[in-house]
Amino acid sequence: MEQPERFDEEDLTVNGVYRLKLFIAGASPNSTRAVNNIKNICETYLKDNYELEIIDIHQQPLTAQHEQIIALPLLVKSSPSPLRRMIGDMSDTKKVLTGLGFHKDQM
């Protein structure tokens, strides 16, 4: 529960906007797929209502420790709360949507 709080504080001002961070490892197949998949999902379900940041931890190795990153790709949803962490190439759209807080009838 150390890191999440920082996100929450920031998000108090921005209401309703999905703040997403996708951590990837260079151009690995999993990373490439994850980038494509999450972009599709965002465009389909969160159009104009999201901020997606893509971070290559090969470029920022210290982030890996700070963000407690082990498995990659990793998607962190910091807003709206609750904070959720999802790993994988985001190919399971249902699970991604569940993680983003969608209910079954919204999918």
Partner: protein, 577 residues
Amino acid sequence: MGFHHHMSTDKRNIKAKKSITALPKTPTGIKGLDEITEGGLPTGRPTLLCGDAGCGKTLMSVEFIMRGATEFNEPGVFMAFEEKAEELADNVASLGFDLRKLQDEKKIRVDHVHIDRSEIEETGEYDLEGLFVRLGYAIDSIGAKRVVLDTIENLFSGLDNQAVLRAEVRRLFHFLKDKGVTAIITGERGAGRLTRQGLEEYVSDCVILLDHRIINQISTRRLRVVKYRGTVHGTNEYPFLINRNGISVLPITTLKLNTEASTERVSSGIPALDGMLGGKGFYKGSSVLVSGTAGTGKTSIAAYFAAAACERKEKCLYFAFEESPAQICRNIRSIGIDLQQYVDNGRLKFHASRPTIYGLEMHLVIMHDLIREFKPDVVVLDPITNLITIGSVSEVKSMLIRMIDFLQEQEITVMFTALSLNTIINDQTDEGISSLVDAWLLVRDIEFNGERNRGMYIMKSRGMRHSNQVREFVITDKGIDLVDVYLGPGGVLTGSAREAQQIEEKTGAALRDHAVSRKDREILRKRSVLEAKISSLQSEFESAEEELNKIYLEEELKKQITEKTREEITRRRRGNS
């Protein structure tokens, strides 16, 4: 083709063998472990350290990192998968290291890996690249030579895809080898396997197993090298101890029997006893057993020995298993030795403990530890027989072998005292132990004439001429002395009987003197009588000889006359014809 193929495999085998013999090692700095492994862990390779929860694997790996950073100039990365930051800091502090300082100096880097399963949703294919990036960065940022992963198996409970995890763990071991770091990977013991996740499959070089057992309500920690490629290693279980200085493994040292034998002698502290031992005392670095029945003064002999060492300005470590140091000092003061002064000037150190607080091996480890710390010249164990209450005779024997080996290696002279009861079983104990020691003094009660006295003799003393006499062993307020005993018709005489014998011998001497002079006169008389007889016989013989000569001459004369007569007759006959 086939031929060529064989050639190349042969070459490869030879190459492999060469690299095995040349396998470099990295010292852990952990007491005893480097001796068991003959140098440490395989350099640049991962070692698996496994055992049940609470067996000490985290502490051992922490010590590996800390000693590397402080003693071997090898920076280290500690990646913790389970411990909280504070717990790790406590662990480090308990070993007397300052984690923050070492981190600031970039000698150590700690990374806590936190995986909370409830936070993570798995949405497809993934790998553990994040872990590799973290580890790689940590290693490179301080130029780490050592790495600990404690314990990587926790990943398996945090993530679902076991196939991915296995592949990634395999990749991780390769990664560590590529980085050239000497690594410890810890793993928790699983049912029927060394680790829950079978990590031993991935580590081919070195596997060490820790164990924490409770036998007879006494806890014992043990270490075993399960596997060590290309290295001769003991497969025994080695007991180890966790104390304020970290981990201390007790190696079963040099059963090689190649220790140097000193010809230097050390005094027993009792001049008369030194006299019995060829005039000089024990050999330096030898082991001495003093055994005897209750109250025969074994502790007194040990105290004299200890005091003599302190007087020589040597250091003595005294393990008391029966009496408290205060009791020993008081009792020994009553026979004229003040041990307290040596305690005060730091030459004598007591370590008193009840045998039953620890297991036998823990005692041994503790003794080792204290000896290594205090570096004594002389060690006393008083009495070893109390240890038998916590172990079998054979266990005690094997413990003592190890103790003696260890002490011999350091050229420390050791004196054991042992209580022998008048039972057959304990006689065996004596003998079992006595075959291990270099010298064996036996103190016996001698009950005679309504008194109980002490007799001492040297059962054996290897490599020196020694007295075979039984001496009476006298303890007075002035100290210990040994007095010659007397052998009488009823056996050995001691105490007042000996004194009586001494008086008797004095009066006897006067009587004997008188008897001797009387006998001398008698002999003179006999001599003159005999001489007279001899001269009369002589004259008798001479007359007999004369007689014989006379007869002989007469015979001769007769013969001549007869001859002449015969010639006369013959001549006359011729003349006549």
